[in-house]
């Protein structure tokens, strides 16, 4: 047998802080053969990025390898000299980073940054190096490579930047490519392109890849083998099919139940959060790290000693699990406890948005603009939005960054006023009513849950006082004692202990902060709550809990939920109605079922296709969009999506605004393509076993 590209044995990594040695990764084993792609998956803090950096022997000043070996093509990286290591880095092992913008030097042209690699490792001259760089930019499918070579990083889009980083990694033809969350910072449609690129390049360049991600769906789509990590340990490893189909670790199963799958449904198959929290590295329990959160925990056995990685078979690279009870549990029969949510009928109309339009004026102070006399330009953030929301209903607004969904939220909240159109909320037109002019009742009945858990609470004030302020502000209670009681009740509602009232936000985890944010939004008994990506910044296990909580409270209060998200899988799970936006306009809207099945708007279709699916029983058609999102400053006169559309018809798309077709009452699609043609499009997802046409991926023309 040939020597594996990478062979990691019993690797132990630690960080050394003032508090002492903190083990970051324990007992890590991995073998990667030529041309293979391995995935490391786990939630934040599980040590997966540390492993990647250890492979480059780059752990910073306070980190170190305390045990084990990392052999690259048989040579141990741990014992290499600095010079050997330097020659290895960038040449034989290369890395792609999470934030492409940050990974590129802002004050050097891309050409020079790329050229450095062959100059440094192969000693070629600048001209040759630049030529090589240009070839690679072509290889990563960047058009106009010459322009990009001369550009600075900030002059190109995020997707382009990531392609540059990938090109940089591949320049010296490395044998091993480390990909650390390479798509997390990108929009979903861009992500799809990068994922496809990585897969193709693996074949073209023959690299072995180590793919690190928190996203099970992405791992499934990109990797051959998967290593599930939890709290510094691999808890389960095996081939994709083994791990995804016959999961044998309670944590892995927990992960799968916590993420929305195409088959999950909020009423029939709700998400199941993993209870508890990830233990801090220096407070790990004895025995199984996952023990305290495990439904199958058995005192005396699971917390007795360190749990070894147990092989399920004797194959050379078997499916292995770090659980002593894996063969005792009846995996088929196991159903975790979960509160089922009853289906609710939508009530009366709460919100009606009619032809709402929001333009921002940009004053162009350049001389040229002044000469032309046209120094005011408009950013068309929202263009004639119309939709309704009813009591108890969850309406999702879906779209990628820059689609105008946040602007719409601002107008709704009264932080901005609409340029045109009406927003009727409980009968009042609030489109032109800034928040200062709204009555406390109006404000209180329209509240918001924010995206970033670290920013949603003011770090300077206690949790209790921040909730109390809302209660006071909306005049719900005035007596101090009653306010306090109400704060406690709200904390009960979001399932947080009452003594959290005295805590400061920094003492809370992300999920807990988000719960407080929800409590704060519901403090004024709102009729409608706008949730702006409330779970996107949270780990998957926490996401499920917060999502479920939101739904429960919604049901208990009969609240209308306006859910803003870019994640179609969450939306599909959660929403009753979906509004798909692109560049400030509504492309499609309808009930969840209507939007998720043909006829699709081509953009909806692309979005659906871009969602990574962790469920191996589903197959999906791949549609990769070309190009980047156009700027909202100069939206095309025709269909905003025309420039990237995979079903582009011709000039009509570019010049004429699309008509709105209504296949069903309430299901509206803005597209030039005849309805019949749209209806003929096969669904993006299909059950694997069905054996119909869904098996063959359809790539956009």
């Amino acid at each position: 047998m040939t020597v594996p590209i990478l062979e990691i044995k019993d690797l132990c990594l630690s960080y050394f802080t003032r508090a002492g040695e903190i083990p970051a990764v324990v007992d890590f084993n991995l073998t990667l053969n030529e041309g293979e792609t391995a995935g490391l998956v786990g939630e934040s803090g599980c040590g997966k990025s540390t492993v990647a950096l250890a492979i480059m022997n780059y752990l910073g000043d306070n980190g170190g390898i305390v045990g084990g070996s990392i052999k690259f093509k048989g040579r141990d990286i741990v014992t290499m000299s600095k010079e050997e290591l330097r020659r290895l880095r960038g040449a034989d092992i290369a890395m792609v980073y999470q934030e492409p913008m940050a990974a590129l030097n802002p004050s050097m042209t891309i050409g020079r940054q790329l050229a450095e690699v062959p100059i440094c490792h192969e000693g070629v001259d600048m001209a040759t190096a630049l030529k090589r760089a240009e070839e690679l930019l072509d290889a990563v499918r960047l058009p106009d490579a010459k322009r990009i070579l001369a550009a600075y990083p900030h002059q190109i889009s995020g997707g382009q930047q990531q392609r540059v980083v990938i090109a940089m990694a591949l320049l010296s033809k490395p044998s091993l490519l480390l990909l650390d969350e390479p798509t997390t910072a990108l929009d979903v449609t861009v992500e799809a392109g990068i994922v496809e690129l990585i897969a193709d390049l693996g074949h073209d360049f023959g690299t072995s890849n180590l793919y690190i991600s928190h996203n099970l769906g992405l791992i499934r789509e990109t990797c051959d083998r998967v290593f599930v990590m939890y709290s510094g340990e691999v808890v389960e490893e095996g081939s994709i099919d083994e791990v995804f189909q016959s999961t044998r670790h309670p944590y892995t199963t927990g992960l799968f139940s916590a993420i929305p799958m195409p088959g999950s449904d909020k009423y029939d198959r709700p998400l199941v959060p993993i209870r508890g929290q990830l233990p801090l590295p220096h407070l790990r329990p004895k025995g199984c790290n996952f023990g305290p959160r495990c439904d199958h925990f058995e005192a005396g056995r699971c917390d007795n000693r360190r749990i070894p990685l147990d092989r399920l078979s004797e194959a050379p690279r078997p499916h292995a699990v770090r659980c002593i009870r894996w063969d005792e549990i009846d995996w088929e029969a196991y159903r975790p406890d979960v509160t089922m949510v009853e289906q609710m009928e939508p009530g009366e109309r709460v919100l009606r948005v009619e032809e709402m339009q929001k333009y921002y004026e940009i004053t162009d102070r350049s001389f040229a603009a002044m000469l032309r006399g046209k120094n005011i330009r408009f950013v068309k953030a929202n263009e004639s939005l119309s939709f309704d929301a009813r009591r108890q209903q969850t309406v999702a607004i879906v779209g990628e960054s820059g689609c105008g969904k946040s602007t719409f939220a601002k107008v709704l909240m009264g932080l901005e006023t609409a340029t045109e159109g009406r927003i009727r909320f409980n009968g009042d037109d609030i489109a032109d009513l800034p928040v200062e002019q709204r009555s406390p009742e109006q404000i209180g009945s329209l509240q918001m849950v924010f995206q970033n858990p670290n920013e949603t609470l003011n770090p300077s004030h206690t949790v209790g006082s921040q909730i109390a302020r809302v209660i006071k502000k909306f005049g719900i209670e005035t007596d101090a004692r009653k306010i306090e009681q109400r704060v406690f009740k709200l904390l009960d509602t979001v399932k947080l202990p009452r003594d959290f009232a005295n805590r400061r936000p920094r003492q809370l985890s992300g999920g807990q902060k988000q719960r407080v944010g929800i409590a704060r939004a519901f403090a004024g008994n709102p009729a409608m709550v706008i949730a702006d990506e409330p779970v996107s910044a949270l780990d998957v296990s926490v996401q499920a809990a917060v999502t479920q909580l939101l739904m429960e409270i919604q049901r208990d209060h009969g609240t209308t939920l306006l859910f803003i998200s870019h994640d179609l899988s969450v939306v599909r799970y959660l929403a009753d109605r979906i509004v798909v936006m692109y560049l400030g306009q509504i492309m499609e809207q309808g009930t969840t079922d209507e939007v998720f099945s043909p006829p699709y708007h081509p953009y909806t279709e692309a979005l659906l296709s871009a969602v990574p699916i962790a469920d191996t029983s589903f197959e999906k058609r791949r549609i990769v969009l070309e190009g980047d999102l156009p700027s909202a400053m100069n939206t095309p006169p025709g269909c905003p999506f025309a420039s990237r559309c995979q079903r582009h018809l011709g000039d009509i798309c570019d010049t004429t605004p699309p008509p709105i077709v209504e296949p069903e009452p309430g299901h509206r699609i803005a597209c030039h393509i005849p309805l019949a043609e749209l209806q003929a499009v096969p669904p993006v997802f299909s059950q694997k076993d069905d054996g119909d046409g869904g098996d063959t991926p359809v790539v956009a023309a």
Binding site: L415, F450, T456, F488, D499, R520
Partner: protein, 293 residues
């Protein structure tokens, strides 16, 4: 847990601040700085008790450190050219310095924070006007500004405070404005806005407390700088009017004699440098600690 128990478990505000302040122990640099400052604050507060002589009383001029004049007492750091006890003057001088420098800094902060909050939160023309005015003031070399102000309006404590306020507030405004520009985009500010909170509430309750970290660090540095400024003005003869001791003035009055009687000059120099060092070290320590958070 009962509600009452929860309430009693709530730590008092003062304790919380003390606990935060105690974090400085984690930085030995900061601890030393704090130690120096505490030493001088103690000297200042206890000057009436500790100082062996009245600060302006005149005994025998030019006596070296340790001079003993029975039955009056011992002059541990010697006497100055007017026969005043240098140790006592340093102690009383600490009062002057530790009164005017923080007062001036505080006033500058009060103005600077107001301007910075308004400019950074309100933006628009308010920002334009305030920022431009700040630019104009900041374009003066700062000591030039002090000299012109003090010579025009006369040397007095209040004028020094006003001059420092006038000259420093724009710089503080810039810092605050920068912080506010960042903080105003936080979700909790949006949350407050969506509750219809007034601008004043948002500026002072939601934004300002979160800007305090960098501001406290800056304030420490600035107090040090103001101490130097007051010293320099004293040195140039534009400082606080005598006879009340002022360290810069003490250096100024005696430096002509430093060759023969170095003690008269060197002790005030050490005093002023050590206090500035204290503030600089504390600022460094605070920064270090706050980065660790």
């Amino acid at each position: 847990m009962t509600d009452n128990a929860i309430r009693s478990a709530r730590p008092s505000k003062i304790m919380q601040y003390l606990r935060r302040a105690a974090l400085i122990r984690e930085s030995w640099v900061g601890s030393i700085g704090l130690g120096i400052i505490v030493f001088w604050v103690a000297m200042a507060l206890l000057a009436p008790l500790l100082a062996p002589f009245p600060p302006n009383a005149q005994y025998v001029p030019f006596m070296a450190p340790g001079f003993n004049l029975p039955p009056t007492g011992t002059f541990w750091l010697g006497t100055d050219h007017l026969g005043r006890d240098i140790l006592s003057r340093l102690m009383w001088g600490a009062r002057t310095v530790l009164f005017y420098a923080p007062l001036a800094t505080f006033c500058a902060y009060a103005v600077g924070i107001l301007m910075g909050l308004a400019a950074g939160y309100k933006r628009g023309w308010i920002d334009d006007v305030l920022s431009r005015s700040a630019d104009v003031i900041l374009s003066f070399p700062i000591l030039v500004l002090y000299v012109v102000i003090i010579t025009t309006f006369g040397a007095s404590g209040i004028n020094i405070v006003l001059a420092v306020t006038f000259a420093s507030a724009p710089g503080i405004m810039r810092i605050v404005r920068g912080l506010v520009l960042d903080l105003r985009n936080r979700d909790y500010v949006a949350a407050a806005q969506t509750r219809g909170e007034s601008s004043l509430y948002i500026m002072f309750v939601e934004i300002l407390p979160n800007a305090r970290g960098p501001l406290i660090v800056d304030a420490c540095l600035r107090v040090g700088y103001v101490i130097i400024t007051i010293g320099v003005l004293g040195f140039l003869g534009l400082g606080l009017p005598p006879p009340d001791p002022d360290w810069g003035g003490m250096v100024n009055e005696t430096r002509g004699m430093a060759m023969s009687f170095p003690h008269m000059t060197i002790f005030p120099c050490i005093a002023i440098s050590s206090l500035v060092l204290g503030f600089n070290l504390l600022a460094d320590g605070l920064r270090e600690v706050s980065l660790r958070d």
